[in-house]
Symmetry: none
Subunit: 231 residues, 2 copies
């Protein structure tokens, strides 16, 4: 299970802070998107929504509280407001505007990361991983499960990877060598006999009996393709 790295939007007008944050977060395994101004940060967030945001309270072209409000109009992403001002009034306003946490500078990198992780943990997990469907076949990538007409079908690891490769590009022709390298790795690149056997096993498990309505089509001499709606 390879989780993609989480993207953090960082907005601060002081270059050295930006730099310190970038290094700290990178080391902790996050991907950092830096912005030095409010407008730039909001544009970046709209263009490609990050998993969380760390915003400075005071910026030349805006402030963290206003940015929080703007972001909250359309997103529930975790927001941490950063500031040199420890004043109670600011903290309360930021939190009421929708920020998840408020950290005062100078901050401890470890604590900031811990607070960021706590905020990310709370965030609503984004929509579950996709379920590929075609006719009565369901391939659930997240659960690593396959159903046919609602019934659970057990696939071996190779069969599962094979079906995933086919169903993730419906209609598209996948050559023998493409499938072999994708499912087996680079070693078996020309062992078509093995591929045939596994395709046969796969068909037996997930295909309707009628040979004319098969989802897995053979392109003789070239490869296979998965068609969503067999004629």
């Amino acid at each position: 299970m390879t989780a993609p790295r989480q993207r953090i939007l960082v907005c601060d007008d002081e270059p050295q802070i930006l730099r310190a944050l970038r290094i700290t977060l990178r080391n902790e395994g996050f991907e950092v998107q830096a912005a030095s101004g409010a407008v730039e940060a909001l544009d970046a967030a709209a263009l490609q929504p990050p998993d969380a945001a760390i915003l400075d309270l005071l910026l030349p072209d805006g402030d963290g509280i206003e940015m929080t409000r703007r972001l909250r109009e359309w997103s529930g992403l975790p927001i941490i407001v950063l500031s040199a001002v420890g004043e109670e009034e600011q903290k309360v306003r930021a939190l009421e505007a929708g920020a998840d946490d408020y950290v005062t500078k100078p901050f401890s990198p470890r604590e900031l990361v811990a607070r960021l992780r706590a905020a990310l943990r709370r965030a609503v997990p984004l929509a579950d991983e996709p379920v590929l469907r075609a006719g009565e076949i369901e391939l659930d990538l997240g659960a690593r499960a396959v159903r046919r007409a609602g019934e659970e079908v057990h696939l071996t690891p190779i069969e599962f990877r094979l079906l995933s490769a086919l169903m993730s590009r419906p209609g598209r022709l996948l050559t023998h060598s493409t499938l072999l390298t994708e499912v087996w790795g680079n070693a078996y690149a020309d062992d078509v006999a093995t591929l045939r056997t596994h395709i046969a096993n796969l068909r037996r498990k997930v295909e309707p009996d009628d040979a004319r309505r098969r989802h897995i089509r053979t392109d003789a001499g070239v490869g296979y393709r998965f068609v969503s709606e067999p004629s």
Copy 2:
């Protein structure tokens, strides 16, 4: 739909702090349940789960971090740890244990309330029933107990964490390494032999004898999954 007042569990051994918190929270419209010790607080939380908890770090009969861990075993309620110690190490440990925020004394009442509101805003609205069921198996996260057909079954700590991991995502395949990191921690990521042994012990304790109707399914070479309704 009249929203009932939100109940906050407050745990501190200093009476004057308890009193101050009670007054502050009452004025802000919360219902307060006070406890002066760790055991008392955990019992109260188990008996009637609150909407959030504010825990002192240092208590005569325990500490806030351990309480956080215990609560997190079965509940996702917002937790704010309160402490006179501003030390970075404590903050990080508390947040990593599952706390949502960490506030140092002396604290501003307004800020604390703002942070509490921010944490409550994030919380999943539905207080999830901490009892997982499947067939004749019941796993009670709060009581850390497992029953089979009503009969109490004794599980070792590892077996309990293993079953929790499996039952909390029914139908989903959990890789060997996923289970190992989740149950043992990051170190044992490839000791599959141990995992097999514990799975065997677990099956002996909670599974029906009939091998075809097992809840814990093996996916050879990949991992295990828990199926709620074995065919």
